[in-house]
Amino acid sequence: MTAPRTLYDKIWDDHVVHQAEDGTCLLYIDRHLVHEVTSPQAFEGLRMTGRTVRAPEKTIAVPDHNVPTTLDRANAATMTEDSRIQVDALDKNAKDFGINYYPVSDVRQGIVHIVGPEQGWTLPGMTVVCGDSHTATHGAFGSLAHGIGTSEVEHVLATQTLIQRKGKNMKVEITGSLRPGVTAKDITLSVIGETGTAGGTGYVIEYCGQAIRELSMEGRMTVCNMAIEGGARAGLIAPDEKTFAYCMGRPHAPKGAKWEAAVAYWKTLFSDDDAHWDKVVTLKGEDIAPVVTWGTSPEDVLPITGTVPAASDFTGGKVEAAQRSLDYMGLTPGMKLSDIKIDTVFIGSCTNGRIEDLRAAAAILKGKKKKDGIRAMVVPGSGLVRAQAEEEGLAQIFIDAGFEWRLAGCSMCLAMNPDQLTPGERCAATSNRNFEGRQGRGGRTHLMSPAMAAAAALTGHLTDVRELMGETV
């Protein structure tokens, strides 16, 4: 009889190629996702050493960070020269090394963490890595997925393995059900508010509980996506019937007898009842409110009904950091969060650029117009999300509400393409990081759910979406 194991333990055990005496493991990697920013130096390293890509059929590349999202992007002049060089380098590397590739011109192009699941590359029980910290997204399928640096990208390209030491197990349980107007984004931000941005350092998080089970796959991806903002390299959710239904029929999902065998294996992927947890955090789903961030760290999160804190509300090193955040964000302690006026609304990113996110925003915007003077844009996470949103009539709702309806990419989440904030510009954003300068030098970011961002677009200030839904708070 084997000792009880967590989901993380099980996936780990099934991927150990070699274990050294000091506990360092060589871990096999099932899927390697690649984008244009963190890979050029890795491919160059292979060339310089005469090495090849060991498993090109398990390597998938797509340009996303630099690509313009305006409708004229087929025109090369829409990209700066250095951006173009990076995208061209990925084009060439994909061709030279024979890896799977979705170029900018392909309708399937999009943010790497949206394309992977969409195309069926990401499946339960796999190990998935990418030179991008939001690789944690894929954990929603019950796959062990985390970000790596460029040296490790080169290592995986050359060997299809990573040198790893096992992390600790942390359980984050969300009991009960969410209230109306509260979404996966509010769960993940509230967890970070509870644990802090270093609370998950050294751990792999498994999210569980009724509220997690009740989320769609899109919502689960949103939750796992921000595990990294809580310090955990990876977040996991045990696969279930929703997971299998999402995967079935996707282009790279198994078919026929292989599918049956896969599902049988996937059904063994759950944490055993008596498994050991190094840390447990429990939140009540009913207690989670729609939240926003006020500062420059994702842990600076409060319910929208709250007020801007003062630096003196904190202790230790956080006092200075909070003061720095308040100064940077241009906020006065004590002011109501719902009185914060915004200039811009950004709906998109690997956190909230999926079809369900666009549906949630469109439901708030339907038949209404954004506040005059607000800049508002929707950037679908992939070309296929964009096409589906057009088919469902969502695109027209956004356009009628005065939003720009863009092509797929990372866009204003990190502003490596032309979509940027100007100094002092304040943005209601559905992305994942509110760091200083993240969306453009001097730009001020408030993180929130797509429904909350849509509500802010209508009123011109941070707004409790429940008021627009006729819900009592």
């Binding site: 198994p254 990190l414 490596m416 030098r441």
Partner: protein, 201 residues
Amino acid sequence: MDKFTTLTGIAAPMPLVNIDTDMIIPKQFLKTIQRSGLGKNLFDEMRYTQDGAEIPDFVLNQPAYRSAEIIVAGDNFGCGSSREHAPWALLDFGIRCVIATSFADIFYNNCFKNGILPIVMPQDVVDVLMADARRGANARMTVDLVAQTVTTSDGQSFGFEVDSHRKHCLLNGLDDIGLTLEKAAAIDSYEARTATTRPWA
């Protein structure tokens, strides 16, 4: 990768928590296809005004710290993105060691791949090292990876922990990929095994 054995150098005090990778190297400098040349943009938005003029108050612009080789910082250094441009920028500036109470996992790991030693110390030790760093260019700290100690300019010595594999690689400047390729037979047999147990993967 350059070896790391011992280092005696100037330590810059950065007593801020959550120094993120966007601060260390803002995204506009990620559009390079090389590893070198990022040192001039290290901490760019804290170090320069929008017009590119130096901000005199910023620690690495102060005469005492312009040639710092060590940074002493607060909790959760290197949080945020996986960009290896962060350690590349530190290294290109000349930083070979960062000492903090905690590090973000991916950044911590990326340091070792580039010959930078990240050291975790408890708060009371970081407080002592921070005070030593504040004494400026005449106060040189010594980091000894072999002995696993940090010694202040006035001779106070503190031990630190480091993973044995990573220590070995840093001391010898070893390339991980070369080491792993020596285990190619184990990878081959793993792939052969999973071709039957998980043929869909």
